[in-house]
Symmetry: C2
Subunit: 458 residues, 2 copies
């Protein structure tokens, strides 16, 4: 019997855990699900005979060490800040690790140790990063196979509500760790723009957006998503003069979030004493300098930021409850945590609505052997979740993870050290299997637009 | 024989290591100094019979583990990002740890484990944090002993050049890890202002400064330094309506740094390919949006930021070399690292000049038993380094560390778990000893100013 330890039973986990348990009998697996919230872990395992729920505690090294020691493979779904600890313990214990998080510095640093210990560290094996990377690789492979060269590669992803949803004015539903929504853009963003590297600091990320049209969904907005240059290296796409990763939201999200960042609310470094008992209006007031003008918090915020006192942004802030005489509640010690629980409550996915996950690659390829013919490829993946059931997000994150776990346990990925799913040994088989499960991109191939041509010539 | 492992042989370490070695024979110590740069470690040990230099590698857990295993006590002078790893290994191996870094989340989380293992984790035992905390405790103790209540506590610190130095236009010399200069303010800042909590995001920290007069030095500027609320809790000063920690620089530093933060240069998240070969002017250009106006990088930067094309800020940026056709050099992969090596080169402490370390507490106390008499205490510590020799910074960081190490090894601090030097068992004896070594504050006690009174009444 092979033993799988799933660390984290949060919103991204249900599909993964269900699939693992469903196949456990046939493949002779045993699945341990550990979460800080043991009741949540129990709910996921649902008394399956091949599964068990446990409490996890990332501050108790002995507990974590012994849980990892007892497993053959670990799936990491914890917040990214725990990844270094988990990866280190896995290497120490000689256990493989598959995660849906970005490969961070610690993963890179552990590469040599992992090889030495015969361990595979496989991060970025979820939806985004994960499915996006693998599907990008397949497009690149095809263009290169046809003798083409890629001039521009833009890759977008987002998890939102359906385009007709009226569930909330932000048209966003929380389907993953809201911490990542709150701290989005924190690292700033880099990308390649017509041959030149561009870098945007956090406080400008949400003000430098551009429109994206998603087939079947409609107009959306994109903001630059983290490190597109690392993405370019990962994809081995040195040839592309333009390389941008973007996050997709419905229009209006970014202008709101830009002002929240300017105000300073997304802060997970500073701890505020007695935060749960404080009222939101008092918390918001903390970010205003003494003597700001206006008779209400809302007016002072609007004046300080230089936005309309009655416009869309301040209206959405009010709807979120930032000016309410309501206690923050929860157990958070930072404003980022308070904001995350606020979003979790205000932007809860309605029981009657599906979520929507979107991935899109926009590629411009040139074929020197065909008289320099130019081609524009738009490959779009959209998937709706089951209302009240599994979210598209959980399916999109879980399916690639499951397939990765299976292949590692079957010995079909004999790599050791730290690798990404862009490795040819991984992405091909996983994409074939995902397609059988109905997770596929729709492609539109055509001629480049005038904007594209201007971009290429810049 | 007791074995001391010093992790890190950087700019803050010389005084610490010299003192440890000087006393090694008498106290039967053996001192191991480990640094990534083994030559630097060798230089510090200088073939002392009671010392040895080793290579350290924070990515090699086996090496670090065995080095810690061999020690009785560890002194951590590594960059703060390694503190969680070091602390965890110390707890695992049952070894005490004394550091000059802030107590971070990991230290807090390890408290229970440390108690279980009989380990003392003692961070914030350097200059700032360290000497500042201990000296603040002594003032608070005295005011309380006299029946007083503290209404306002402001605490400032900084390491700069002498007031008459003309070594560089920024009047700053690098005497500690320049990474901390580059990333200063990153966490934002919180403080208590006339009873109200205020929070400033990073991109506003350097634009909300105020003047401070330092006796014997002259006018300086202060910006809010990190988490003053945590500082208030550490000092047990719930009674104070105003509690601010500030960093001191000569006037002009903050307005320059504010624009560098706005531009986005201090970024240690994003990696830029081939950074060492790129020219500084091209690096700076990365932070400008496409199509920025102006015929030179300098003009485009000035226009984009909305600052004078010919004023003091752009002049200092030019002096730093940000518009030069010079390769970045070094081995850094992020702009923050590039900026750190630039500062190290441009702001090198001249061989012929001393550095200057300043700590200052400004306290307003009220004595209810004395007809509500108000008192203004200004306690200032200034210390110049030895030109070409040990810096004031290394002395200020090293002396409290040495005393902490000695007390722990002598069994005079029988605490276990994670503690700060504000513990009465620690700060009293350490301050007495520091005073014998000539490290003392000068106090001026007088009446509050009109500004103070307005502040208290706000």
């Amino acid at each position: 019997m092979q033993s799988i330890l799933v660390l984290g039973a949060g919103q991204s986990s249900p599909c993964l855990i269900r699939y693992l348990l469903d196949q456990a009998e046939e493949r002779d697996w045993f699945v341990t699900v550990a979460d800080r919230d043991v009741a949540l872990a129990e709910q996921r395992v649902a008394q399956h005979p091949r599964g068990i729920a446990m409490a996890s505690d990332m501050t108790d090294m002995q507990l974590l060490g012994s849980q990892i020691e007892d497993a053959d493979l670990v799936v990491g779904l914890m917040p990214p800040r725990f990844q270094p600890v988990i990866a280190r313990e896995c290497v120490r214990a000689g256990k493989h690790l598959v995660t849906a998080s970005y490969r961070d510095e610690s993963m890179r640093e552990l590469d040599a140790d992992a090889r030495r210990m015969g361990v595979l560290l496989l991060p970025e094996m979820g939806l985004d990063p994960g499915f996006d990377l693998m599907s990008a690789m397949r497009i690149i492979e095809r263009v290169h196979g046809d003798g083409g060269v890629i001039g521009s590669f833009e890759s977008y992803g987002g998890g939102v509500l359906g385009p007709d949803s009226r569930a909330n004015p932000l048209r966003y539903g929380i389907t993953w760790n809201p911490r990542n929504v709150v701290m989005a853009g924190e690292a700033g963003a880099s990308f390649r723009d017509a041959g030149r590297i561009k870098i945007i600091p956090w406080h400008s990320v949400f003000s430098r957006t551009w429109p994206i049209e998603v087939p079947g969904v409609g107009p959306m907005e994109a903001y630059a998503n983290r490190d597109s240059l690392a993405y370019q290296q990962t994809l081995g796409l040195d040839e592309a003069g333009t390389m941008v990763r973007g996050t997709l939201r419905y229009p209006g999200w970014a202008e709101l979030w830009h002002q929240l960042v300017r105000l300073g609310l997304p802060n997970e470094h500073l701890r505020v004493p007695d935060l749960p008992e404080r009222h939101w209006r008092d918390v918001t007031e903390m970010f205003l300098p003494r003597g700001a003008s206006g008779t209400s918090v809302a007016e002072r915020v609007a004046d300080y930021l230089g936005i309309s006192r009655t416009g869309g942004i301040i209206t959405k802030m009010r709807w979120l409850g930032l000016f309410d005489r309501e206690p923050v509640g929860g157990e958070g010690t930072t404003i980022a945590e308070a904001l995350a629980s606020l979003l979790r409550r205000k932007l809860e996915l309605p029981e009657t609505e599906p979520d929507l996950v979107i991935l899109q690659h926009q590629v411009i390829a040139r074929y020197p052997d065909q008289g320099d013919r130019l081609e524009r490829i738009v490959a779009t993946f959209t998937r709706y979740g089951e209302p009240g059931g599994e979210t598209a997000m959980a399916i999109g994150v879980g399916m690639p993870l499951v397939l990765g776990v299976r292949m590692v346990l079957e010995g079909r990925i004999p790599l050791r050290g730290s690798h990404l799913p862009t490795h040819p040994m991984i992405y091909g088989p996983v994409l074939d299997e995902l397609e059988r499960e109905g997770l596929r991109f729709e492609e539109v191939v055509g001629e480049p637009t005038e904007d594209d041509l201007a971009e290429l010539e810049a």
